[in-house]
Symmetry: C2
Subunit: 617 residues, 2 copies
Amino acid sequence: MGDANFRRELGQQLRVDSVRASDAAGSGHPTSSMSAADALAVLLDGHLRLDYAHPGDPRNDHLIFSKGHASPLYYAVLKAVGAIADDELLTFRTFGSRLEGHPTPRIPPTDVATGSLGQGLPIGVGIALAGKRLDQLPYRVWVLCGDSEMAEGSIWEAFDYAGWAKLDNLTALVDINRLGQTRETMLGWDTAAYAARARAFGWHAIEVDGHDVDALDAALSEARQTTDRPTALLMRTLKGRGVAAVEDQPGKHGKPLDDAAAAITELGGERNLRVEVAEPAGSASPHEFVVEGAEMPSWPVGEQVATRLAYGEALAALGSMRPDVVALDGEVSNSTHSELFANAHPDRYFEMFIAEQQMISAAIGMQARGKVAFASTFGAFLSRAYDFIRMAAVSRADLRLCGSHAGVAIGQDGPSQMALEDMAALRAVHGSAVLHPSDANQTAKLVEQMADRRGISYLRTLRGKTTVRTEPDEPVRIGGSRVVRASDHDDVTIVACGTTVDEAVTAADELAERDICARVVDCYSVKPIDAGVLIAAARETRGLVTVEDHWPQGGLGDAVLEALAEQENTPPVRKLAVYDMPLSGTPEELLHAAAIDAAAITAAASALLRQAEPVQA
Amino acid sequence: MGDANFRRELGQQLRVDSVRASDAAGSGHPTSSMSAADALAVLLDGHLRLDYAHPGDPRNDHLIFSKGHASPLYYAVLKAVGAIADDELLTFRTFGSRLEGHPTPRIPPTDVATGSLGQGLPIGVGIALAGKRLDQLPYRVWVLCGDSEMAEGSIWEAFDYAGWAKLDNLTALVDINRLGQTRETMLGWDTAAYAARARAFGWHAIEVDGHDVDALDAALSEARQTTDRPTALLMRTLKGRGVAAVEDQPGKHGKPLDDAAAAITELGGERNLRVEVAEPAGSASPHEFVVEGAEMPSWPVGEQVATRLAYGEALAALGSMRPDVVALDGEVSNSTHSELFANAHPDRYFEMFIAEQQMISAAIGMQARGKVAFASTFGAFLSRAYDFIRMAAVSRADLRLCGSHAGVAIGQDGPSQMALEDMAALRAVHGSAVLHPSDANQTAKLVEQMADRRGISYLRTLRGKTTVRTEPDEPVRIGGSRVVRASDHDDVTIVACGTTVDEAVTAADELAERDICARVVDCYSVKPIDAGVLIAAARETRGLVTVEDHWPQGGLGDAVLEALAEQENTPPVRKLAVYDMPLSGTPEELLHAAAIDAAAITAAASALLRQAEPVQA
């Protein structure tokens, strides 16, 4: 097919442009780019099917640089295919440029941001899965991996899942240049060891000289022809290939070449080859699932329902209303109740097993294909994928996460299963929403709104039942709150969310018996929080008690303080939260021990007013 | 050696006691316990060397339940070896009991908490590594893994590292009972596939019938005799083994048996066998490294030094002062500067490659052996191990973490490499300290104090240089702060940390030219924060501006608000932080774009005072 000489020349151009871009920037990773340049040249010329002029074409192949630090090579590719001009190439890493230090979707057709290692491959699994099971299109996913990142467990979650799911539309090109940032990798050039691992995880594996364009061509053809399993190319390469001063040398990671001009000369000088990448074939369009329609569920006020169950019912209904909704779970679907979606829409449910990093990555990959992906597990175990959620924000991904089993209220299972830091972690994700409904009707309405929200939305659900207080037709919105009780002579405000709303209402009753009038605010939207209601409460009452089933840091209490921060003369705010490491016990025992139950709220509100009195007098 | 009949009976006892404990609790995982009971019986009777009466004996073997939900079995073992009485066994999961829903170190000789899957094995790697390279003792580490958790990438990080490090003192017993929480695992009973994976990662692998006590005995003997590599027993088992109502049945995960009495009868009734576990052999004591002594480094005021460099120099000096200090890094030691420790103390440095989960787990394992372990990588990449850090708190572990490359101030590499959520995430870890020094002298003093601090301590360091402002002999303490400038007529307070201290000082100069007198507080200890200094500032000035190179949530600003929360009539606090997704650029461009540079501080302080004036008037 292709011309070997052209491919060699193209490889050299990609090297030269990697050197030039890094030299212009004064930083970057040219040597990590040079090792993979020949593989990319062959991939572009003869294997990739991607219309760079129409990056939104659903039939396009996907190319992911899991080794995101090889961004000079990625941008050199964009120049070679005509997606960017040489001028823009040289804006690499400058302020405002689309060519950031590591790739992001700001430059099309980049699907996702990379740069935290070990993420591109599992995300590629998600895109490949969407291609097979959702879009039902013949596109392929090509992922360039570094050898250093093969030490990341997430890579093996991806190998495991892709092998199990027989994703023959996925190819990993592993750039085995032997040298990491500071030293040789664990496996060095032992491509056979990598191949044995890939095979043990159900992949087809091909060892290949990563600088032999004919061998690469044959290997890529073999990958395309392999059915029933994904393929890994284990490419033996030289870091810094082609420039003696850096080739296979330690200490040359992540810096421009000392003498770029000499290196460019050694590589044969600048070129301006243009490679015609094949366009995707045929006229197929993405499969659309047929939905039968449904009403969102609601529950009568007064009923006792677990919000995790409401999540499952709402998600199942949403799936009946919208064909783009898909769900993933980390093998706890009968706990999170995503099983209700799985039962109703088995074609759009993905069991991701106990591999939270792969689960989140798959959701990221699916949203890159326009799906509205909801991923669920215990809130505690979303912490396993925190780096992936962080990076999803850099990817400008729209993700819907549900973490069940919030807080000490889960009871006997103990602290390993309790989400106690999840609101803090998720609040600190750029552009996120953090939602913690106190009842089933709130939950269903928030699930529906999450589907339309951009960015990362997190819903925190409860294991145990809570009282439905929100009327079925009452407005509930991301950024809103619910004033559970209020008067024009309230003494104190109790701000609660989730399970503590029931406790707050009980406390307000107890306080009323002491002639203390308590306003109760249900901040089901912790981020964005309803600042207006809180500011009014701070003006109209003599102090606030916040109460949450979460560590004291970064959750509801801090969100309330943030909302009030810029006000003058803020009254005192007492944060009730889980200050000590919980044990096992009944939910009631643990809420009491943590001092976040009604008794503790009553005591805190009373104490706050006693403290406040001298100042008021 | 052992008596097969005794072992079978012991296995039945372990099952019966698992059923009894779960029945008494009304919750728990008896079926997941029953599958592994025979393996534990054989391990206890003939292979384990552990003096349960002296859990602190450094020669003891270590037994870790990576499948922590098999806690009923774990506690049944403790009864069988005489470590707990039957009465205590039946306190399982009750409030105050040492026998929590999942094991924690509250019950000796438990090294670490488990219950988040995939953590026990990598922690076992750390303990095994400590045995070989630090303690230099012949103890063995036995880890019981579930088959569902083999989907966790962290398991493969452990396989990878242990194989590479040839940890022949480590044995994984994989309980392949086929059934997860909701369905069959990806590999079912394909023990050959598991074995192929283990071998591909450099392990010796033995497929074995997990209910054949003689075969188990032979396999465990083979594991003990295998040198140069760790061993994995791939044990084919039946979930719920021995009770027809649950044996190999789906839908029987994580709940007590419906008819415990009948099950106990079916298992042959209660027993009170006592197994004499072998004591550790010999009189060896842990190796002590010889140290030559050193002074902690210091730098003259006015010098420009990166705090990451100060970390490396301080850690290297500390290693010369204390033989118990060890360091680990995620293959970025020339960025974090832990390489200075590695160069000075190669025997106590561990290169953990790009596998942050294994790095943190190894540190947890080493601290379980009394080592003072410092683990470092980019702060952004500690997010990869967040679940492990969370669980380390449940383990009551003493961990020292260093995250470099904080914030947008890193510049060109872009957001994937910027720690922007790290303070929020680490503040929300139980018992943690979060330290973000602004200069080299602070850094060195905090490193020294971290070594003596219990719990999880996090040091956040900077890529770029900052001005040394702290005198070498000035007190610096965890929980302290540094008042950079103050007078008795300050108008406004600027609270900064890390790189923003330099910006705050410049801003204070600019404000002085406008006749605005600004107090500057350097909160190098973000948690615990110096509430006294902040409360005084809130009383003595008309407002506070906080400024941090971090997302707005959960970091310095929220910590300041928390410190002031319970005060009456708090003045306004304006939080400057990184509100928009950063790009690549120079540090100066990015600090400016994020509005956390001197100009932004000056503007915010001025605006705050204009806002405050009408109220004051």
